[in-house]
Symmetry: C2
Subunit: 329 residues, 2 copies
């Protein structure tokens, strides 16, 4: 707090007032906010809780913790919040708007510190602009900051990796409907192909629980003996890419010698081992730390929209697994 006061050129008392949500002169406020950003300073939860009426619980809303991506993200969000003295209340919404609404109402009535959400439902109208909130991957409204991976660049990178390692007959495989980040990932893939005169096909399964059956049918229609029509497959999720891979395995099609596969997320199924699937890696630790930082920066004055509306786009990387060729091959 002393550093913030020094850099802002204001008194320590002004910084304290600001952090605890008390009225501050507009010019002082701007100076303090600049200093806070410059220092990447976040106030300690316990000190705040003593002076404000809000608890040090943060609600984290996700569709379900039961996927590698969400569980790895939850893990890092909890540890990141803990660094600053906050606890994470985990809420699985199952993408049900009624569930998400319920959690948001709970946030209001129980005076939690704030919300981090990967809500897939449209909840913009339900969220009071007075609450501190950060969304990941999908914008809630212009009132709140968002943290997102560079999905477009990820799609491009996948096409480039397949191209560089010799694939000539590319396939984009996913589940319909293609929307939101999926369509952005697809667009990156398509643009790379177009720019490099590569041909590609698209296969979308139906939107049914047993969508894997559609993958299987598609593979059977496009294989003869142990050969498959495509030698490079990109899917916009690890889940679909893994499913594709394991079906090819069952028909004795050689991965990666004959077909290379790249997924998206590269989330760790187990903490201690890398994924076997080659995939575009979302920077999960960085997403967690950015989301928490953006939330904590709002806490002094959650009602001030000017601090809120920002989009942080984080770069992705390629993670080599065993489903694409390396120099060894």
């Amino acid at each position: 707090m002393n550093d913030v006061a020094r850099i802002a050129g204001v008194s320590r008392g002004s910084v304290s007032n600001y952090i605890n949500g008390q009225k501050t002169r507009p010019d002082t406020q701007i100076k303090i906010e600049k200093a806070i950003k410059a220092l990447n300073y976040v106030p300690n939860a316990t000190a705040r809780a003593l002076k404000t009426s809000r608890s040090n619980y943060v609600i984290f809303i996700i569709p379900t913790v039961n996927t590698p991506f969400f569980s790895e993200l939850s893990y890092h969000v909890q540890l990141e919040l803990k660094k600053f003295g906050y606890k994470m209340i985990l809420c699985n919404s199952n993408s049900e708007p009624t569930e998400e609404l319920e959690y948001i109402q709970m946030a209001n009535t129980q005076k939690v510190a704030g919300i981090i959400t990967m809500s897939y439902a449209d909840v913009a109208d339900l969220v009071s602009p007075n609450i501190a909130l950060v969304s990941i991957e999908k914008k809630v409204s212009d009132n709140f900051p968002m943290v997102i991976s560079d999905n477009y660049q990820g799609g491009k990178l996948a096409a480039q990796k397949l191209h560089d390692s010799g694939a000539k007959h590319l396939l984009f495989a996913s589940k319909s409907p293609i929307k939101d980040i999926s369509s952005v990932r697809q667009q990156g893939f398509v643009d790379y192909c177009t720019e490099n005169n590569l041909t590609y096909d698209t296969f979308l399964s139906r939107d049914i629980p047993n969508f894997i059956d559609d993958f299987r049918d598609f593979i059977l229609e496009n294989k003869s003996d142990h050969a498959f029509k495509y030698d490079g497959v990109f899917s916009d999720s690890d889940e679909y890419a893994n499913a594709f891979w394991h079906i090819l395995l069952q028909y004795d099609i050689n991965v990666p010698a004959d077909v290379q596969i790249i997924g998206f997320d590269a989330a760790r199924t187990y903490q201690r081992q890398p994924t076997f699937l080659s995939a575009i890696r979302q920077p999960i630790e960085k997403i967690a730390s950015e989301a928490v930082t953006r939330l904590l920066l709002q806490l002094p004055h959650p009602e001030q929209h000017s601090q809120k509306n920002s989009v942080t786009v984080l770069p992705v990387t390629f993670q080599q697994g065993v489903t694409t060729k390396t120099d060894r091959h």
Copy 2:
């Protein structure tokens, strides 16, 4: 509450007093507890919170949410708690005793409703017997109930499945040190082999982060061309079994035609699709619901040890994936 009163043969007021932790005559109390158990009755969180000083937060301590087993379990624990109006505070302890102690202290000072723990650290001395607590898989002390899968039967079942589907050269593969539930699973496997005059070998990797390298070395030492010395592998975790499978794949050894593999947990990596690995399935939904029920039953009188010391052993099943033979083969 009316049903409890009727079955117990006491007044509704006595039941209400009991549930809200007020003094009750010993004989009345025994009648009410019997009726509660008979009805599987659990009091509603909101009604309780109005009358007691404790919150409706329940702390769930796990080593890390970032494995399929723990994330699937967390998912079900949260939904189960929500049914009764409780919220789940998720705590990743990374198996650090200091972390677990911190969460337990937080439970005491912040007056949470209770704790569900899969603690791997020895925290018996740190937990006040006055708090409501249920452990999963590992006993905290004789003061608290535990819910656990039938690990011994799971080991037996794995050996039996490999035997029934024609495997003759069995291997138990795991990571050292073998202790706690791992040794129980191993013992079940060994006992089945002994009872049925089957020979088996045991391979344990070193206890290092790159334990997979040891698996790889072992496989290389025991293969010639595309043949592996063993045709049936059981591992006491999905993680090790998956690692084993994927290394065999990389050396073009045919699974399940030439080597069958069975893991343990059969946790779902993705909610919408079954696992590809054949494995002994822990009844995860049932573990969650039993743990929550056992916790809620303690809430009226968490200080009464007599209600606490119980062990619930849940049966396991075999889940067919693509790594063991079916009738199709």
